[in-house]
C-alpha cells in the first residue's frame, strides 16, 4: 500500500519534471524554428502574421543573405581564423604546460601561479591601455585578433598541465636512451600521449574562437575582414533601420547551420570533451 502510494508520487513527480525539462528545451529550440519558418516569408507577410506558414517558400531570402549580406565571405574568414587561432592557442598552452609538469626548475611554480591569479583578479581596467597599445602597434586587423588568441599561460595550460602530470616519465626516458632530444620527446611522444587533453582543449578553442565576438568586433575595421559573428551583429544593426527581418533570419540560419550540423554529429565527443577536462579549483 505504502509502496504503491510512493510509486504514484514518483510518477507525478516524473511528469512534473518532464514538463519542466521539456518546456525549457522547447524555449531553446522553438525560437530557431520560428526564425526558420519566417525566413522563408516576404517581409510584408511576416508583419501580417508571425505564426502562419509561408504562402510561397522564398528561398531567395537565403540567396540575398549570402550574396548581398556577404555572409559567405564572413564564413570563410571565420574558418581560417579559427583554424590558425586554435592551433596557436593550443600549442602555446601545451608548451609551458609540459615544461611545468615534467621539468623541475627555479620559478616553475611562479609561472603556474600566474595562470591561477589570472582567474582571481577580475581585470576590466586593462581595456583602455590594450586599446591604445593595439592602435600604436597597428594591430587593428586580423593579425591583432590572432595575437590575442596566441597567449598560452591560462586556462588551457592548467588543463593540459594535469594531463601531462598523469603521463609516466618512463616513456620519455626510454626515448632519451634511444637518443631522442627534448623537442622530439615532447612533439612525438608526449603530445600524442596527452591526446585526450589536447582534444578537449582544442574543442574549447574551436568553439571559443568561432564564437568570439568582442576582440574581432573591436579590432576588425574593414568589413571584408569581418568574422561571421561580427558580420552578423553588423547585419542586425543595419536591419534595425531597414526592417528587412526575413533576410536577417535567413542570414542567421546560414551562420548557425554549419555549427548546428557539426554539433549534432559530434555532440557526444564535444560534451565529453568538456566533461573530461575537469575543472578543479
Amino acid at each position: 500500500m505504502i509502496k504503491e502510494r510512493r510509486s504514484i508520487g514518483n510518477k507525478v513527480w516524473m511528469i512534473v519534471l518532464q514538463i519542466l525539462f521539456m518546456g525549457y528545451a522547447l524555449s531553446l529550440i522553438y525560437p530557431f524554428i520560428w526564425m526558420f519558418i519566417n525566413s522563408l516569408k516576404s517581409n510584408a507577410e511576416f508583419f501580417q502574421d508571425i505564426w502562419s506558414l509561408p504562402e510561397n517558400w522564398l528561398w531567395g531570402n537565403y540567396v540575398e543573405a549570402w550574396s548581398a549580406a556577404h555572409i559567405g565571405k564572413y564564413f570563410f574568414n571565420s574558418v581560417w581564423m579559427t583554424a590558425i587561432g586554435t592551433f596557436t592557442s593550443v600549442m602555446f598552452a601545451a608548451m609551458p604546460a609540459y615544461v611545468l609538469a615534467k621539468y623541475k626548475f627555479k620559478g616553475s611554480s611562479i609561472i603556474y601561479g600566474l595562470a591561477i591569479i589570472g582567474f582571481l583578479i577580475p581585470t576590466i581596467g586593462t581595456f583602455g591601455p590594450w586599446y591604445l597599445l593595439m592602435q600604436n602597434l597597428n594591430l587593428f586587423n586580423p593579425l591583432g585578433v590572432m595575437l590575442g588568441y596566441a597567449g598560452g599561460i591560462g586556462f588551457n595550460m592548467i588543463i593540459l598541465y594535469s594531463f601531462f602530470k598523469g603521463i609516466s616519465w618512463e616513456y620519455a626516458e626510454a626515448a632519451f636512451m634511444d637518443g631522442a632530444g627534448h623537442f622530439r620527446v615532447f612533439a612525438q611522444i608526449m603530445m600524442p600521449l596527452a591526446r585526450g587533453g589536447v582534444v578537449a582543449v582544442c574543442t574549447f578553442a574551436v568553439i571559443g574562437i568561432w564564437n568570439d565576438y568582442f576582440q574581432p568586433f573591436i579590432l576588425l575595421q574593414n568589413s571584408s575582414q569581418y568574422t561571421i559573428a561580427v558580420g552578423l551583429a553588423n547585419l542586425v544593426e543595419i536591419q534595425k533601420y531597414s526592417a528587412d527581418y526575413t533576410v536577417l533570419f535567413a542570414a542567421m540560419w546560414i551562420a548557425v547551420l554549419p555549427v548546428l550540423v557539426m554539433y549534432l554529429i559530434l555532440q557526444e565527443k564535444l560534451i565529453s570533451g568538456f566533461t573530461m577536462g575537469g575543472i578543479k579549483g
Partner: protein, 299 residues
C-alpha cells in the same frame, strides 16, 4: 656565478619564451599601464597626456555616489553575483536529474548545451526577437492566450529590461554549467551511490553526503568564476539592451568600455578599473575563502 648552457635549459627556455613574453606584455605590462593611466588625463582634442594625481579617482568616487548611470551600473553588476549563483544551483539540479537517466536525458543535455556552442551574437539576437514588442513570440503568445495586458516592450521598458537580461543569462547559461557539473558527477565512483541505495539513502542525504563533498572543488570553482564574472560582464547587456533604457540595465564593465570607445577617457576608465579590480579582488577572495571552509573529499 657561472651559467652553463645545457640542452635541457635551452629546451625549457624555448618552450617558455613566447608564452612568457605574451604574458608580460598583455598581462603585466597592461596592468602597470592601467595603474599609470589612472593618474593621467588625455586631452580629448590633442590627445596629449598630463599627470593629474588623484583627480580621476576623485571624480570616479563622486560619480559612483551621485551619478545615476554609475549607481545603476554598480547595483546591476553586484546583482549578477546572486544571479550567477542561481544559475549554478539550477544547473546542479538539472545535472542531478539528468544523471539519473530519466527519459530524454540525452536529448535534454544536447539541447541545453546548444546556446554554448553558437555565437553570443546569434543567441542574443534570437532572444531579443522572441521579446520583440510587436513581432515577438512572447507577446504573440500573450495575444493568443488573450492576455493582452501582459504584453510589454520587454527590453525597452525600464521595469523589465534588467530582468530580461538576467533571464537571458540563466536561460542561455544553464547548459554550460550543467555539462561541467555532469563531468564532476561522472567522476564520483558509482559504488558510492549503490552503497547509499542499499542503505535507503534519501535524495537530500545523497546530495549532502556524497555529491556535494566529492564534487565541491568543481562547484566552488564555478562559484568563484561566477563571482568574478559579475565584475566583467558586459557583452550580454551590450547586445540585448545596450545598457538601456535610461541606463537601467548597464553594468560596470559596459560603462568602462564606453568611457574608452565613446569618450576616449582612458584615465578615468583606468581609475574605475583599479577601483573595481580591487573591490572584485576582495569579493572573489572572500568567496574563495568561504568555499574552502567547506569539507571536501579527495578521491
Amino acid at each position: 656565478m657561472k651559467f652553463k648552457v645545457t640542452k635541457r635549459g635551452l629546451f625549457i627556455t624555448v618552450m617558455l619564451a613566447w608564452p612568457l613574453i605574451h604574458y608580460l606584455v598583455f598581462g603585466l605590462f597592461l596592468q602597470i599601464q592601467t595603474l599609470l593611466y589612472s593618474f593621467k588625463n588625455w586631452n580629448p582634442y590633442t590627445g596629449k597626456q598630463t599627470w593629474v594625481g588623484f583627480d580621476n579617482y576623485i571624480s570616479a568616487f563622486k560619480s559612483m555616489a551621485n551619478d545615476g548611470v554609475w549607481t545603476s551600473a554598480i547595483k546591476n553588476s553586484l546583482l549578477f553575483i546572486p544571479i550567477n549563483m542561481l544559475s549554478i544551483i539550477l544547473s546542479l539540479l538539472v545535472a542531478l536529474v539528468l544523471y539519473r537517466k530519466i527519459p530524454f536525458a540525452r536529448f535534454y543535455r544536447i539541447v541545453y548545451f546548444f546556446p554554448s556552442i553558437i555565437s553570443i551574437v546569434v543567441v542574443t539576437m534570437v532572444f531579443s526577437f522572441a521579446l520583440n514588442p510587436t513581432q515577438g513570440i512572447v507577446n504573440g503568445m500573450f495575444d493568443l492566450l488573450g492576455l493582452e495586458e501582459w504584453k510589454r516592450a520587454w527590453l525597452g521598458d525600464t521595469q523589465t529590461a534588467l530582468i530580461s537580461v538576467f533571464v537571458f543569462c540563466i536561460w542561455a547559461g544553464i547548459g554550460w554549467n550543467n555539462v561541467i557539473l555532469t563531468g564532476a558527477l561522472q567522476r564520483i565512483p558509482t559504488d558510492y551511490f549503490e552503497v547509499g541505495k542499499l542503505d535507503g539513502i534519501t535524495f537530500w542525504n545523497e546530495f549532502r553526503y556524497i555529491v556535494l563533498p566529492i564534487s565541491w572543488s568543481t562547484i566552488s570553482t564555478l562559484i568563484i568564476l561566477g563571482t568574478s564574472g559579475a565584475f566583467t560582464i558586459f557583452l550580454q547587456p551590450m547586445l540585448l539592451t545596450n545598457g538601456g533604457p535610461f541606463n537601467s540595465s548597464t553594468t560596470v564593465a559596459l560603462e568602462m568600455y564606453r568611457l574608452v570607445v565613446e569618450k576616449n577617457s582612458y584615465g578615468l576608465a583606468a581609475a574605475y578599473g583599479m577601483i573595481f579590480a580591487l573591490i572584485g579582488f576582495v569579493v572573489v577572495w572572500t568567496v574563495k575563502w568561504l568555499t574552502e571552509r567547506f569539507e571536501t573529499v579527495e578521491i
